[in-house]
């Protein structure tokens, strides 16, 4: 069974229909790509919404714990006490037998109850104590 040199790399014919098949595969690939995008978008949208809600809730929770929230709209009482922040804007007078003039700071409220930080004032007006 002798060999001819042309047998070694003889050109074979791939047969008909190659181009049509390629067109079909390209269409299928494009359709599949669009489908993947659509499914990804559908999957990501609720996820993104959930993350947005979670981040809002987290921020709200952090705000609840912030000093500003806890102490109202004024500075921390410790700063007021040492004269590092202005006195509270909201002043109340407590029971008649209490000492001297007092200034109070609303530090929180809820269910019909308001909580105040109360500072005794000296004659000069500077806070000198608390109750």
């Amino acid at each position: 069974m002798p060999l001819d040199e042309r047998d070694l790399f003889r050109k074979l014919d791939p047969g008909p229909g190659g181009l049509g098949s390629l067109r079909q595969k390209i269409r299928d690939a494009e359709r599949s790509r669009r489908e993947v995008r659509r499914i990804t978008a559908l999957a990501i949208a609720p996820l993104a919404a959930g993350m947005a809600v979670a981040s809002v809730l987290t921020v709200t929770s952090l705000e609840d714990r912030s000093p500003k929230r806890r102490w109202g709209e004024v500075a921390n009482p410790a700063l007021i006490r040492f004269g590092l922040a202005p006195s509270p804007r909201e002043a109340v007078t407590i029971l008649p037998n209490a000492r001297g003039d007092v200034a109070a700071l609303r530090v929180g409220s809820g269910d019909g109850v308001a909580f105040y930080w109360v500072a005794s004032r000296s004659a000069s007006g500077a806070p000198d104590g608390e109750e």
């Binding site: 069974m1 002798p2 060999l3 001819d4 040199e5 047998d7 790399f9 791939p14 067109r23 595969k25």
Partner: protein, 179 residues
């Protein structure tokens, strides 16, 4: 094979390219997988991959790129088949058989011998010789496809043909039939 965005491949260009390159590409791939069905499948897959990366394709260097894609696909397919055969202890060869349509064109025994001889080449020689003999590309273009210098293409081609000649010499009619 990096390309500028100005040279994007259009569908019409891809089709022209397919008409021009389907046959040589198919013939190169066939010498890797020895199955007409698989060679056709990989040819299509290579064009499809090219289409998917069309935005980055440089039309002036598209042929070497296409051959590189196709040979990599064929090489991977070949490796996978070998592994599968090893795992399944399947001894059926992937070379041409009587049921393969390609064997109808060539004598079955002769085809088997040629396949064995080409398969016996080291992969880097096989890459070069199949492209040099079947793609119609210049050494420069083959070098671009395989990322080797044109001079190396020439020397590897000669080496591959020498090895083929040694293996097939007893069966070759003409004295200088190969090479």
């Amino acid at each position: 094979m990096e390309a500028g965005p100005s040279a994007a491949l259009t569908e019409a260009e891809l089709e022209r390219l397919f008409v021009r390159m389907e046959k040589p590409l198919y013939n190169v791939i066939y010498r890797w997988v020895w199955s007409r069905e698989e060679a056709r499948d990989i040819t299509q897959e290579a064009f499809l991959r090219l289409w998917k990366m069309r935005a980055r394709v440089d039309l002036t260097r598209v042929e070497p790129l296409l051959y590189r894609i196709a040979i990599n696909l064929a090489s991977n397919r070949r490796r996978a088949k070998k592994l599968w055969r090893w795992l399944s202890l399947d001894t059926i060869a992937d070379r041409p058989t009587a049921t393969d349509e390609g064997a109808a064109l060539l004598d079955r025994e002769r085809d088997r011998m040629i396949a064995e001889a080409i398969d016996g080449l080291p992969e880097k020689l096989r890459r070069v010789v199949t492209l040099a003999e079947l793609s119609g590309m210049s050494y420069q273009e083959i070098g671009a496809a395989l990322s080797i210098p044109a001079g190396t293409v020439g020397s590897r081609r000669n080496k591959a043909l020498e090895l083929l000649k040694e293996k097939l010499e007893p069966y070759v009619e003409a004295e200088d039939a190969v090479g």
